[in-house]
Amino acid sequence: DAMVIQNPRYQVTQFGKPVTLSCSQTLNHNVMYWYQQKSSQAPKLLFHYYDKDFNNEADTPDNFQSRRPNTSFCFLDIRSPGLGDAAMYLCATSRPAVDTQYFGPGTRLTVL
């Protein structure tokens, strides 16, 4: 089945220790998104790619970076995680049209 895969599902890191979350898709969608979701809050868009074109949200901290080496893969790098970065990170894809997004299962990040 075509899908969006996120690895790992659970990630524990130490305060200040860089961490990378990964997302892959078999849908061949042009657009990929990273969201941060904290408990009982709305998923918050961090950035999205349209192919290689990177679009950062204005309020996304500089601590968050992303890479998309090809259509299938997208990475979220957190350079120096703080306690406030503990959250669920959701990857999603879509076609470049008014359309639904397809979400991965998320990676739950714990910062110790």
Binding site: A42, P43, L90, A92, V98, F103
Partner: protein, 112 residues
Amino acid sequence: DQQVKQNSPSLSVQEGRISILNCDYTNSMFDYFLWYKKYPAEGPTFLISISSIKDKNEDGRFTVFLNKSAKHLSLHIVPSQPGDSAVYFCAASLPGTYKYIFGTGTRLKVLA
């Protein structure tokens, strides 16, 4: 500033009855609205959508109503089933963007 609001964090309904989940928005420029369902430990999955040029869209047991003058949309589930127990998010997008703004979600519990 939360542009998409789901003011009821939770809702309980008896099996077989109607579930009504509500969503309000503040930006009259939104032109496309979606509902997602999220089970624990999974990513959100698309449920139903509606364009701003319509006021109703139906898909099986699920119907979404849009009231543009009130900036309000609602999701009706009839009849409700225990398997519908999940968190429901509404989301909205602006014309010409691939970005979606999510509400905080409503946790629906359908009681057998």
